[in-house]
Symmetry: D2
């Protein structure tokens, strides 16, 4: 079963997600997909600093008491830009609709992965999104292998993965 | 004290909230303010259908089994457009920063109210937002009194309000 | 050739389109696609009021001197929601990049059409988007035929169409 | 008079700028403000690379034929974050409304400036925005003086400035 807590998220449709037709703006769904991907990594135990670029001055050192706790990271060397995305819309979503989001991450090859996001409301699929990512070395923008943290998340997210191993990283970083 | 659970929210800075300077885009903060206002009403027990417009076809009837549970509402007659907003930025926020948001709603006159939103990270104020709303009759766009649900929320949110009365509506609608 | 002036647009990447990796946020591209579709209709001579829903109070009458000139439209009966979209990203785009956008609209069947959007910078394709729309009757949300204005735009936008006929509507509504 | 072509801009309200109330989302106005500020600098002759941060790999050299023409810039040392913003809304704006935007930039002190943006539709003010910026050294995030290009733009934008001098930089960089 694929009931990992980092692959089952919730969000509510907000007023600013809608347009004058009263339903969600189509491209907001893809914003939600990326936020779900970020939240999934966070729940799995992978900090934003491990994956997403930040300005140099925001990376504190262990002795930097001013910096927030999770800012003491070296500069990233790998980025994971989206090379393809898509979305399908089955039912209209309106302001206040409570959504459950289920994620299916999948490694495609040594340097790429994709995530399928299913959005359901009142038990029925309302929309589905997909993002496809490719690892590149930031300095050269050449393809490279996935960061270790992403590989671990992908392996643990495979259907049936939890029966074989329950890695320590699967403890959520925050409630 | 002003520690009502509907006035203390949390959110995490997401990658899409940032720009090429590595910090949040200033106008996203005002989107967060509105989402915090919506979440506060929701936690207080006021459904989105009571306050925010929806398309006519989405308002089901109790016998409409296709409609989501909370869609059986009559058409709204009052809107609460924002007539003024502002924001102040004290510290830069970067991707992954965990934020606590505290809201201070306040009635201004029979037809208007404002909400101050304080965003803190690691115990320090990072930014502050303000939205000022005015009640209007949707059909005529003339000023009118606040909807009863908003008045209740404003009264219960006043500093010290909980010592005098704890209205039933203050139970959160969802966890 | 497909060099109609309503199928060749320009825009510049703005700072708010980027994220902390310094490149455009992927979902902004799909927002650009929809704005290009709207601008294309506008240049072709189709007013926003003919296609996009507006609040009832904003529809003035010819004698309504307060209303803006193009607000004297009856309520829409047909909506054109997006049922599918996708995007592919070939090259990174950064703040300030000047883009040329070429649109290829295409009717799919009596009630549906799609638009392909090619984004080029410095002569090279940087990204491609696609939106697929389906006509529905707003009141019932059942499928229906395309609005006449959209059919005219689709016919005039076909490759080679201008050799056979140059409809009057193809004069741009504004420069 | 303040009729410089870099202080008078146009844009059209797009469908994605609206919400389910049929009018523009309040925070979009502040996005428009920033885009107007960027377009104003561009028309004045200040390239995005001079003011807005970009990733290191995107800065080409004169011999780099792959890079777009305006990418051959050194790394920025000064950023201009917004420390305060506000907006006032007088009239509702709906999809398709043509807007004229007039900007009033003003230096506040050696390290700060603000811009007032007036949005008019059909000759009547619909909304007004304000952004206040402060110059900081990126590496240290300490206050510093404004970049020379911004000072020139501010001086040329002062009411009456064109009667005294019409600097060469005031020729628009692009039509």
């Amino acid at each position: 079963m694929e009931c990992h807590n980092w692959l089952r998220l919730k969000r509510t449709v907000r007023f600013g997600d809608t347009d004058a037709a009263g339903v969600i703006q189509f491209h907001q769904l893809l914003r939600w997909c990326h936020e779900a991907y970020e939240e999934s990594l966070e729940r799995f135990g992978i900090g934003a600093t491990e994956i997403f670029p930040r300005p140099e001055w925001s990376r504190g050192t262990p002795s930097d008491e001013q910096a927030a706790p999770d800012r003491s990271q070296p500069a990233l060397t790998i980025a994971l830009p989206i090379v393809h995305c898509s979305a399908d819309f089955q039912r209209p979503l309106v302001c206040g609709d409570p959504l459950s989001i289920s994620l299916q991450p999948r490694q495609l090859d040594p340097g790429g992965f994709e995530v399928i996001y299913r959005f359901a409301c009142a038990g029925q699929t309302a929309a589905q999104g997909l993002t496809r990512h490719r690892a590149i070395t930031i300095a050269t923008r050449q393809g490279c292998g996935l960061p270790a943290a992403i590989s671990t998340w992908l392996a643990a997210s495979r259907p049936g993965a939890e029966m074989i191993q329950e890695p320590e990283q699967s403890q959520p970083a925050q409630a």
